[in-house]
Assembly symmetry: D2
Homo-oligomer: 291 residues x 4
């Protein structure tokens, strides 16, 4: 389309998951076309074109004067019903609100705050919650609320109750930015596929505590970091992104940690970016990432 | 679709390039649907959704009993005309025929022969042409024709004439697998975007001769390899793929060469694979690679 | 030294391991100097300069007319005794003899044969042993002996006895180039730190069988390969080298395998190269690699 | 040595460059041994063991009660003279003082500030100098002096005179952390091999202005960043470190910039770290990095 005035445009995103079958793309894009939506990005994937599951992400612009997203949503509904299709329609203008959970190590926290301020992270940072007071000054100086909630390991439920009171209805998702506490099923189940953790190893290697020490003991030649959605089983949720860094026999465990920090922060920030841009679909404990 | 019998299926691929505008995907996929084609892969890209150029690659299966590809092609034609659309419809079953040009270094040649025999390279190796006799025995033992055509630098046109006689109408594209002669415009213009070269540097660094020696002199910390389509300007054609390898001050130029060989071969093989699978579109001296 | 004639030079390598303490380097290099050895490469590492363990590799040239290596060895002995030093003195001119064990997948085998013929692998290929007849023709055409020894899983000891008869006193080390049988302690203990295996995962992730299938199921975003010395515990020996390759949700398990092959072969070849160049020392189930 | 009390220890580093010849290591380490220095790290390199140039870096501890570094320095002098040896003896406890020059983009500046505060960068940040006022608040809040010195392109000498007044005798080296002004020979010659620049391309590709825009136009598949010492010729000084990031046809120039920022900062920080740890020697417009 020849665009005369971008100011009246609204942006939208459509995520689709359904059993694969011929004609789906035609039908979906036809409805978008009929509602004067202009597709700006489109990506799709099928686990198997015969009897598999089909996933699609479409980003589009729509002229808000002539059409509303509600109308579009209504138009898609019969199709969704006919094809057992799960559809989600999102407005990027309505930024997702995140809570960042952090313990003592600040590199992942700083990365998220910096990227958000740079404008590369399309999210609203609603609050930072920590079991330590260490970063209060830094976070508040940047204009974000900081809640210090100590965690007594024999009474974790008290802390989690306080956390829940703060985040309930206030945030869309949670980022564990080197938060060194295991969340209880109570919190995890309240945010399905909405809690992103950074694990400081190349999963599934070194699940659990002290991965760098164990990497050192095993004598690996490459270390890694993994961002994943949190599920009830520790470090076993859908992997979103991983990256690695070459090391050698001369690295101590603490040098591994220092090197690892540089990749942990970028891996986590990338996962969060994809999450807020609706680029991730979860299927079968795995992610489809339309990056 | 629920597939009862895969034996009667034919595979097809559709490449599209046209000015971007709303509705294209709907119209194209609608025609495929109407002709009972089942889309198995689809990828698209637009240089700009407003007045940019749109590119799409669709892989599909079609039941040969009920529909022929000619019918499909005919059905697409009016659409192509209406939208100034360049369309190409390919049958993977008709493998592309390649000529491999090689000089003394054999690592890229061996990689292509091996991958083709492994079945990972969906191409027919029509012939190997070399300005040296060195690899005749190896190539013929693997069952491929080998033509030794010496090149006299004062009479390159004689050699190129012989090469052209061999390849004309016999091959679809040419791979320069470390062929250390510069092709004349005569050959280049006969195979537009159909000649793939591997250059042993990270282009645009070190265009031309002796890239490893120059990389050594410059003291770079990473070396690279670049596969690109050949155009009249030396090492300036559309880049298809690049890869790099870390080195350090201790590497001599010849150690750089030995290390470089390991990436040259995989970069070239990847580019050839994408080419024969119709995954590459060229626009504005750049490639769009739907990998 | 100003060198007038390189033809009379002999090359040597010295590996040292001992408790770390001041003065070791001085004492060792002094003896080399007194015997007119010229150091061409030197590398060292200490697990801890206070009460740790010290490792050193020195490559040198010596004028064979004036000095023999035996004399040098004798001169080092008292020092070794005084410092509880383990010393090894090697002559690169005496190439290590290797046996390659392989099953059906040929990519690692081909890489080793090719690199040896290129001259980048300073080893003698004494024989190829396989539990399948598949590669006999290829290997013999390249001039190497091929022994087909089928393995009956209920009578593995019979096959291992035959293997041992072939390799005993005939080879210095063994390379398992995608040999899909687990060696018994009988063979492993006969070649301590002299059997190199390539495992098709990023260890310690996916120890054991079918790593690509399991990587696919886990939904990792990066796959890897690991070369390690074989010990009695499966896939738990000292890691020599690892490398990785990025993948995404669109990769099937078999596409992972195809991609993985490209790194398995280079990781294995690199490990073998370091082994034959005496660049690897083993300590505490880890490797020190002076690459 | 068995260490009873680390508190009285002083750390030292010795850098050596001289014509290669047998016996150097013995002679140098002998002097260290005689002065009760305990070598904790040692690395060496020769451009050619026959008539080449030899480089060595030794880190050691010395008991300050019994020996002073001056005594050691004096003991090394005759050796240095006899072998035309350039020696430098450094005390890590005396941290190098750096001036950071920056323009509008803050990612490299923040990385240096953050790593210095983390303790991974063994340097003193003496001041930040900028031709823009943008980062004054951030830098001063972290406790470092910030000098805003605007640069009029027709009167650059005025700004450089002010910069020189600030840094002269106050800093040991300068880091150009995305400082978008070309330094004049006046400043460059005052800090030979003491000015580190980060260039936002994989040098020698895209020397000069707007490298990402040019990378976009050329259609490269990998972008890079290069840290190098500044010499009079633009972007042609000794390369210290480089790193790269894979991109694809879908990246706009501004997405390349955003991706590039993530590697620029780590490449620059690594180069600065090596510089302050005396790990870099310059020879023939190239660096030897003992990392």
């Amino acid at each position: 389309m020849i665009l005369h005035d971008k100011s009246s445009l609204r942006y939208g995103r459509l995520l689709i998951a359904c059993p694969d079958q011929p004609g789906i793309v035609t039908k979906v894009t036809r409805i978008l076309f009929d509602h004067h939506a202009n597709i700006t990005e489109s990506a799709q994937y099928s686990t198997d074109p015969y009897n598999g599951r089909f996933f699609m992400r479409i980003a589009f612009t729509i002229d808000s004067a002539s059409e509303t997203l509600d109308t579009l949503h209504n138009a898609l509904r019969p199709l969704a019903k006919a094809h057992a299709m799960k559809i989600s329609l999102m407005l990027p203008e309505k930024k997702k609100r995140m809570a960042i959970f952090v313990s003592k190590e600040e590199h992942c926290l700083l990365e998220l705050l910096w990227q958000q301020q740079m404008g590369t992270l399309e999210a609203e940072i609603a609050m930072v919650i920590s079991n330590h007071p260490d970063h209060q000054k830094t976070v508040e100086a940047m204009g974000f609320p900081y809640y210090y909630i100590p965690v007594d390991k024999h009474q974790k439920d008290i802390a989690e109750k306080k956390q829940m009171d703060l985040i309930k209805d206030q945030v869309d998702f949670i980022v564990l930015a080197r938060y060194m506490q295991i969340l209880s099923p109570y919190l995890v189940s309240a945010f399905p596929n909405q809690i992103i953790n950074i694990h400081h190893s190349f999963l599934p290697a070194f699940v659990g505590a002290k991965p760098y020490e164990r990497a050192f003991d095993r004598g690996v030649k490459i270390i890694g970091a993994t961002a994943h959605y949190v599920t009830e089983e520790l470090d076993a949720g859908p992997i979103i992104e991983q990256d690695v860094q070459r090391i050698h026999h001369g690295y101590s465990a603490s040098e591994m940690k220092a090197t690892g920090r540089l990749i942990e922060r970028t891996v986590l920030a990338k996962a969060v970016k994809w999450h807020v841009e609706d680029r991730i679909l979860v299927h079968d404990n795995k992610t489809i990432v339309f990056a």
